[in-house]
């Protein structure tokens, strides 16, 4: 390292950025203003603009700026396991300083040709996921949920049940209560040795959130590639991350695109989610995120761009008919399920899954009909009864069973409510699994 470059003449200060004259600064370099971390986001001639993560409160035009000569770094080693860190990768758990190889947190892209096709099943026991939207290691998928839904609880539940060597939590704008919830869940489950947490709570400055996903992914890459482990990354809440991006763009006088979001939102989010990967050597990074919605609106720029990037989405919904939170089978999707269903699961999986969802759609139509004051025919009534049973026994997030059990339950539901020709399943599958001795309930 060369000598430190120190400057004390700041010409311009906004709420998130400050500009000064300095030489030799590089785009993306980390600096410290009065000891507070900041990053170079523009260099034009001698004018260097920094985004100050903690906000510029207390920064004066004579504050001391030191350039570190490197991008933000994380010290990676096996010592990361069990640690709680902040957005700068510094301990917040009272434990010792981290040691290890210092790695830049926004690493290069994996050469697509060196990736493997993700095709290892990631079971969660939740039928709304395993049956209808089967997950695979190396996948990236968010929960889409309204603020009032228990998304962090479901996320924690999935993390605890999924088979993973390491779980890396990136918390952005977490409420202190949710932070403690995760901490307690991990502690009670006795899995502290396999977790790493990067935490920014709502009490911390919002711009510090910008570092969390990259920190989490850098740690994930260390374990997945260097150590060939199966890593699960949880990112909650990505909506608050995107909000922080918008603040910086705004202070940089950028022209906002849809919903006041920066025009680069797609690329910014993609650079994070695309860190999910299946390596040929067996290591993998699976990313499960949370994108909170405002009143279920998925056309907003944040969920919209997310949906185009991720390999599906899991939609949480309150089912008032059964009084439980379910994984909505209509809006939810796992794009990679085709890689495992009927290959790693039973042959009837795709057909049963589709038949159930199609009939659930018929029930939805019947419900609309009823609400509009029309008489229901016999088929409609059967559909409605089926829908409640399906929702309670399979869609609810509190279900925990094996995929074979889910399929058996599916056949049971089909036979309880429908006639053979109504289910529209391929003949050879019907012959094998449809039990002619059973009678229709209706």
């Amino acid at each position: 390292m060369g000598f430190k470059r120190i400057y004390t003449r700041i010409s311009n200060i906004t709420k998130a950025t400050c500009t000064l004259k300095a030489e030799g600064a590089r785009y993306g370099e980390l600096a410290r203003i009065n000891g507070m971390p900041a990053q170079v986001i523009s260099v034009i001639g001698e004018n260097v603009t920094l985004q100050v993560f903690a906000g510029t409160e207390g920064v004066s035009s004579e504050s001391e700026v030191v350039f570190t000569g490197s991008q933000p770094l994380l010290n990676v080693s096996d010592l990361l396991a069990g640690r709680f860190l902040n957005g700068y990768g510094e301990p917040i758990d009272g434990g010792p300083e981290l040691h290890g190889e210092a790695r830049a947190i926004k690493g290069s892209a994996v050469n697509p040709i060196k990736r493997s096709k993700p095709s290892t099943l990631l079971a969660t026991g939740i039928a709304g996921i395993d049956l209808n939207n089967t997950l695979v290691t190396g996948q990236k998928i968010p929960f889409f949920a309204n603020a009032d839904q228990p998304y962090n609880q479901v996320l924690a539940e999935v993390a605890m049940r999924a088979e993973a060597d390491k779980i890396i939590l990136g918390g952005m704008g977490l409420s202190n209560d949710d932070y403690l919830f995760f901490k307690n869940t991990f502690t009670n489950a006795g899995v502290l040795n396999k977790i790493v947490c990067f935490i920014n709570t709502s009490e911390n400055p919002p711009l510090e959130r910008l570092l969390i996903p990259d920190m989490a992914c850098t740690a994930a890459e260390y374990f997945a590639n260097d150590k060939k482990q199966k890593v699960l990354v949880l990112l909650t809440d990505m909506t608050l991350y995107a909000d922080a991006l918008a603040i910086v763009a705004n202070k940089m006088d950028q022209i906002p695109s849809k919903d006041s979001m920066p025009g680069s939102l797609y690329s910014d989010l993609a650079s994070i989610y695309e860190k999910s990967v299946q390596f040929a050597h067996g290591g993998s990074i699976t990313i499960i995120g949370v994108t909170t919605l405002s009143e279920g609106d998925i056309t907003h720029a944040i969920p919209d761009n997310t949906g185009y990037i991720t390999e599906g989405q899991l939609f949480l919904k309150q089912d008032t008919d059964i009084g439980k939170v379910i994984v909505d089978p209509f809006r939810s999707l796992s794009r990679l399920k085709q890689n495992v269903i009927a290959k790693k699961t039973r042959e009837d999986h795709p057909q049963v899954m589709n038949a159930l969802v199609r009939l659930y759609a018929d029930a939805k139509d019947a419900k609309t009909k009823k609400e509009n004051g029309f008489d229901l025919n016999e088929y409609d009534k059967r559909c409605l009864e089926f829908a409640k049973d399906y929702s309670r026994r399979l869609l609810a997030v509190d279900v925990n069973m094996s995929i074979d059990q889910m399929l058996d339950t599916g056949w049971e539901l089909l036979q309880n409510y429908f006639k053979k020709f109504e289910v529209g399943i391929k003949e050879e599958i019907m012959n094998k699994y449809w039990n002619d001795d059973r009678t229709i309930k209706a």
């Binding site: 994996v110 050469n111 849809k258 680069s264 797609y266 720029a301 989405q313 016999e378």
Partner: protein
């Protein structure tokens, strides 16, 4: 050589102070930590240059040296392009070492150490011009033509062509003499600037022949023509990518160019792993052998997204000039438009709608116009068919990229969220979608003689049945099941039958995923027979029961091999169902 120095960096926008004159769109190389990083000039203000960097900019220092090349972004054209996996700048990804793509890493586009068997076509003494065939080499199973370089102007006399034999791509295979006696040596490789069209053909005609994609909702209802253009807009999760991959796998084309522009890496991985295992239905060869993949995934440098679509189109035009039928797919053109927006924004240009640059519609129109069926100088025919996906923000088709594309593309395949929610795949909305080729008289004529007399009329009648059915459905849902005549239910269920048996197709079933035109013809005629039959039902509930049985049998037929015993068995079942209803009608009347 002209040089300059870096004076500023904002993300991938680089400011440069140049020593001498600089050309717009010129390529320059920026020195950074022992690497030379490629960038394209996008603005010139005196000696102040703005350039977009095709890399990450973290390693660039102020004052770094910049070398200007004087050339626009060029790619290498020659044997060996097929089966390659390129990045957006034609670097061969397979040749790159390391798990990660490091900043500034490059690799050769073609293989200079492979011998190709060259067979001469041109003879000494013949007069030729740019694009004329001098010889041919075997590339996989395709006859790859070695042509007079496209950049040559005027006419030339062939002085010599080498004899049949094995040659390396950089060996001289012909010598040409210009009108004023200058000699030009020709190898198997030439360079071409990607933003310019390869226009060495005699004429471009209106597309008139159906390009078979194996997808019923496209081929039967909204056919795309060879040399035509189409676009597929759809909200996320409506199956754009699955649909595009189905088109890629089943379309009858000689060459397939697949551009993955700003999309998911895992989707490209799927193509990498699947295509070598799939067989091309026409040739029986591996699908990989006729395919080139250009991939700039969403986490790769943003500026190279724009380059990737142009690289793909240039390669497509190159193979068209050999008299081949080329299909180029780009997923998704919205990501390219977004890359333009990011740059325009950093340049602080006044924005157009939704902050996109104002020239966006012109850029898109220009690009789509490069597709087409062309007659070459030797009267052979070649074509480039282009299908692009569009990812409209918020699923709303009233946004600049979708609207600009709609003005130039001739086929529109609208993916509907409602159909996707109901798992009715492919989720192409049969009513909103269209093919303008159905209105081309030359297309109608061609279908008359190659499919069956009156084919297009039959297709349009089918669309009417679907429309009638949807209108009946609306009436039923407004007035209630028993408040409308039973006929309305029949109309509705006929459209449901067409939906389930023709429009819906299981792209994960080996048989159902591709339907040859012959089989589509059978199915359309069958459905129209049923659709135009007089049925008799006493009450509305009977209608649903009857048609659900019909649909069930038709679906089983789609899952069976055409004309197999199983198929015939289901066909019999179907005829019996129809016969029973007919007899009942006769008895009751």
């Amino acid at each position: 050589m002209n040089t300059g120095k870096v004076t500023g960096v904002i993300s991938n926008l680089i400011f440069i102070e140049a020593v001498a004159a600089v050309t717009q769109n010129e390529i320059c190389f920026i020195h950074a930590e022992n690497k030379k990083l490629m960038a394209e000039v996008i603005k010139v203000e005196g000696s102040k240059i703005s350039a977009q960097l095709f890399e990450m900019s973290m390693t660039i220092k102020m004052g770094s040296q910049v070398d200007f090349t004087g050339k626009m972004l060029e790619i290498e054209l020659g044997p060996g392009i097929l089966s390659k996996k390129y990045d957006g700048l034609q670097n061969d990804l397979t040749k790159m070492s390391g798990l990660f793509i490091e900043i500034g890493q490059t690799s050769a586009a073609l293989d200079s150490d492979i011998y190709y068997k060259f067979t001469p076509i041109g003879k000494a003494g013949e007069t030729v011009k740019a694009g004329d065939w001098l010889g041919s080499v075997k590339e996989n199973w395709i006859d790859h033509k070695i042509m007079v370089p496209f950049a040559l102007k005027g006419t030339y006399i062939i002085e010599s062509v080498v004899e049949e034999g094995d040659y390396l791509i950089h060996d001289i295979v012909a010598v040409l003499t210009s009108e004023n006696g200058e000699k030009t040596e020709v190898s198997m490789v030439q360079k071409w600037a990607v933003k310019r069209t390869i226009d060495t053909y005699k004429q471009k005609i209106r597309p008139n022949k159906i390009l078979q994609t194996g997808l019923r909702v496209i081929d039967t209802l909204n056919p795309i023509a060879e040399g035509g253009t189409g676009y597929i807009p759809g909200p996320f999760g409506t199956g754009k990518t699955v649909l595009q991959q189905a088109i890629a796998k089943n379309t009858k084309a000689d060459v397939l160019i697949n551009v993955a522009c700003g999309e998911r890496a895992n989707e490209v991985v799927e193509i990498f792993t699947e295509f070598p295992k799939l067989t091309d239905p026409d040739t029986g060869r591996s699908l990989d052998e006729k395919t080139t993949i250009i991939c700039n995934t969403s986490n790769m440098p943003v500026a190279a997204r724009e380059a990737s679509v142009y690289v793909g189109m240039t390669i497509a035009e190159y193979y068209r000039a050999m008299g081949l039928k080329v299909l180029i797919l780009a997923d998704s053109t919205s990501r390219w438009a977004q890359a333009l927006r990011e740059m325009s924004n950093r340049m602080e240009e006044l924005p157009g709608q939704d902050a996109f640059p104002v020239e966006l519609p012109a850029v898109i129109a220009n690009f789509y116009s490069r597709a087409g069926t062309t007659q070459l100088n030797n009267d052979e025919w070649g074509s480039v068919t282009f299908i692009g996906t569009v990812s409209p923000a918020g699923g709303n088709f009233k946004e600049p990229v979708t609207e600009s594309t709609g003005k130039v593309a001739r086929c529109f395949y609208a993916l509907s969220q409602k159909r996707a929610d109901a798992k009715r795949y492919p989720a192409i909305d049969p009513m909103a979608s269209y093919s303008k080729y159905l209105d081309y008289p030359e297309f109608v004529e061609n279908a008359d003689s190659n499919i069956q007399k009156g084919w297009v009329t039959q297709v349009k009648r089918c669309k009417d049945l679907i429309r009638n059915g949807l209108e009946a459905r609306d009436q039923i849902s407004i007035l209630g099941d028993d408040a409308v005549p039973v006929d309305y239910h029949v109309l509705f269920w006929i459209s449901e039958m067409i939906d389930f048996a023709l429009i819906q197709q299981d792209s994960f079933d080996d048989l159902d995923m591709k339907t040859p035109l012959k089989r589509q013809q059978y199915m359309l005629n069958k459905l129209m027979d049923i659709g135009e039959t007089e049925f008799h039902f006493d009450e509305f509930a009977e209608v649903a029961t009857f048609f659900k049985q019909v649909i069930n049998v038709l679906k089983q037929m789609n899952y069976s091999a055409f004309d197999s015993a199983q198929f015939k068995k289901h066909e019999k079942e179907l005829n019996k169902l129809l016969q029973d209803n007919k007899e009942k009608t006769l008895i009751e009347s």
